[in-house]
């Protein structure tokens, strides 16, 4: 049938292998000069879209990212993995700090309407803020059905049969398109964006937009009060004998 237009959201986050440091003002983390890459769950989302295209189910894949100018690198990666074109909603660095899933999902919803999308795949959460909200909010703004935490997606008579990872097992749901899917870790193994493909991706079209073009109010609704390091593990003590160990354990009430 090859008629679906799939939109995929991808976020630029601090690379998973980087040790994150809290900013001296305690209102965020250090991002300057830190390696960034695409959110791993969004990579899985892109991969799923590309596989749908390879199965001739999807017609076109559009990668979408909202954020500062550097997000274009992330979109290039998405294009190198197999997306056909990209849309970058450019948000000034300063403004980007204040926005969250609410504003992003509004922008994505508007883009989905403009692009006439049949399916929206996003990662279940980003590894920087761990919100796990964008996909759900997007579905409600669009008034589309949603299948979150997908670990398998199968097309069945024009509908999607999605296996979801829920607490203590798997749940299978059938959703009508258009719909929103959020990708869980086990959905697929994303391919690597190789150098030749990144080079080729430079020729693919990338559209730039402003939040104002989409008519989205960018007023922050959440204020960050404080960002702290997680508590460090306290050092242990060495005991000399079994008797001492028993008495120490008694002291802390373990026995």
């Amino acid at each position: 049938m090859a008629s679906l237009r799939v939109l995929v959201g991808c976020k630029r986050v601090i690379d998973y292998a980087v040790k994150v440091r809290v900013r001296p003002d305690k209102l965020g983390v250090v991002t300057d000069g830190v390696k960034h890459s695409m959110n791993p769950f969004d990579e899985i989302a892109i991969e799923e879209a590309v596989r749908l295209k390879e199965k001739k189910i999807a017609k076109e894949i559009v990668a979408v990212s909202c954020g500062p100018a550097k997000c274009q690198e992330t979109l290039r990666t998405a294009l190198a993995m197999g997306a056909d074109r990209a849309i970058h909603v450019e948000i000034a660095e300063k403004e980007y700090e204040g926005i969250g899933p609410l504003q992003v999902s509004k922008m994505l919803a508007k883009l989905a309407k403009d692009e006439d999308a049949n399916l929206f795949i996003v990662g279940k959460q980003a590894i920087d803020d761990d919100c796990n909200q964008t996909g759900q909010m997007l579905a409600s703004y669009l008034d589309w059905p949603q299948a979150t935490f997908a670990s398998e997606v199968v097309v069945e008579d024009g509908d999607l049969k999605v296996t979801r990872e829920v607490d203590g097992g798997l749940e299978t749901v059938k959703v009508k398109m258009p719909c929103v899917i959020t990708a869980d870790l086990r959905l697929n193994e994303p391919r690597y964006a190789t150098l030749p493909n990144i080079m080729k991706a430079k020729k693919k079209p990338m559209l730039k937009k402003k939040p104002a073009d989409l008519g989205v109010d960018m007023t922050p609704h959440v204020e960050v009060l404080k960002v702290d390091d997680p508590p460090t593990r306290e050092a242990g003590v060495k005991v000399e004998s079994a008797e001492e160990l028993v008495s120490k354990l008694k002291d802390v009430g373990c026995i």
């Binding site: 998973y16 292998a17 769950f41 590894i127 870790l185 193994e189 690597y192 190789t194």
Partner: protein, 85 residues
């Protein structure tokens, strides 16, 4: 002229390897040094068959590296979000 084509293929292979090496767990410099050494060791080769065989080996290493990175990321995610205890 076949030699020119091979020279290009070898250069491409080297570029692709160095690009992948940027993410190598032990650091890009560590990787580049070793990669360079491996290429230099065979720089005198002229037999197309031998060169092709070595290119094949290089491509195999690319596949292995991709798999390594994928697994490394997968394991990190699994440890962070799924191993609860």
């Amino acid at each position: 002229m076949a030699n020119n084509e091979l020279r290009y293929a070898v250069k491409q292979l080297y570029k692709n390897l160095i690009f992948l090496g940027r993410e190598y767990p032990k650091g890009a410099d560590y990787f580049r040094e070793r990669c360079h050494r491996a290429f230099m060791k065979n720089k005198e080769l002229t037999d197309p068959e031998q060169i092709n065989e070595l290119i094949g080996r290089g491509e195999y290493i690319i596949k292995e590296l991709e798999a390594l990175y994928m697994l490394r990321k997968y394991r990190a995610m699994k440890k962070r979000y799924y191993d609860t205890q």
